[in-house]
Symmetry: C2
Subunit: 198 residues, 2 copies
């Protein structure tokens, strides 16, 4: 029986290999995971795995890009909406961050654990800092309009609010309802724990 | 030249060895750190390090106990104050958590990275879950009095607020002013980002 020459084997496309790799990296750590581990998890031989992916670092790059591309695209959409006030845009940014986190939970979890041990990780950290900078700027703009409290430094407020969002990777399960959670998190970030009486 | 027989060498007491170990565990990961690495960092031979500490796991246990003992003691103090309302106790719990995090930053950072790979880590995770449970109960009690919003599940509210607190380990520097930060974090958690007009 002859098979056409192609990359990949039956039952494993590039995307499913990436899913399994991200899950392994999160479970046992990127550094501690070998291509042999990944092959075993996929039921492939160690040499067959290289039909699917050129290297472990390539998988890491694709995983981190997935998370970063989604977060950056969500911010692009929010910031492009000139009909909204800075406060509304900031609310939308918090909301979108939760939705992206829930919908791309394994990739975002991996991104948040990156410490900069490889060039791919350093590149991802630089992109993450750029996103953090954009978020802090959005807090500053909303504070400038008077809608947001001025007694907390915008950078600190941004770190705390998006730290709350990011902390969800510690307990959120894959497949959770991101939209409902996003409303709760946004409401808590803007209005706090205190009960508002009518 | 003869020295008296004792545990430890000049310049290194048990506490300073622990400080260096925690710093190394946080920098390069507990699993990836060997007793040889620790000896090198302290300027000791690999055999001399065993004059100070029986094992790497012993250091991990002491580090995790430091963080957990401080967090549990802070909660004990807060919960023992019957003169306060449940809302005031919850505010004090958030505040104390930030103070403990700032004052024991390396140990708390290590605690929050523990994934349960060893018996010591599993024990620490169990203690951490107990603390999380106590915090969620405090949110529930405050919600029952009507002081705290009832539209957010107390467990979710607790995870988000203390997730915000814990996220500070990502950027806080050792030696920061915990008291000032604690006020800001508590105010943000209870009153939110929105400006309150008089």
């Amino acid at each position: 029986m002859s098979e056409p020459v192609r990359r990949g084997r039956p039952g494993h496309d590039q995307q499913s290999v990436l899913r399994v790799a991200i899950e392994l990296f999160n479970r046992q750590g990127y550094d501690a995971t070998s291509m042999g581990d990944l092959a075993r998890e996929l039921g492939l031989t160690k040499s067959a795995i290289y039909h699917h992916v050129p290297s472990k670092e390539h998988l890491l790059e694709r995983a981190l890009d997935e998370a970063l591309d989604e977060l950056a695209a969500a911010l692009d959409t929010v910031q492009a909406d000139a009909s909204r006030t800075p406060e509304e845009r900031l609310r939308a940014a918090v909301r979108s961050s939760v939705v992206v986190l829930a919908e791309h939970l394994p990739a975002v979890t991996l991104l948040l654990r990156v410490r900069g041990n490889t060039p791919a990780e350093q590149h991802a950290l630089a992109r993450r800092r750029e996103i953090d900078h954009r978020l802090a700027e959005m807090v500053r703009e909303a504070a400038d309009t008077g809608a947001i409290r001025a007694d907390v430094d915008p950078l600190l407020a941004s770190r705390l609010v998006f730290g709350m969002v990011n902390s969800m990777t510690e307990w959120l399960r894959d497949g959770s309802d991101g939209a409902a959670l996003a409303d709760t998190v946004t409401s808590l970030a803007f209005d706090g724990l205190v009960r508002h009486r009518a």
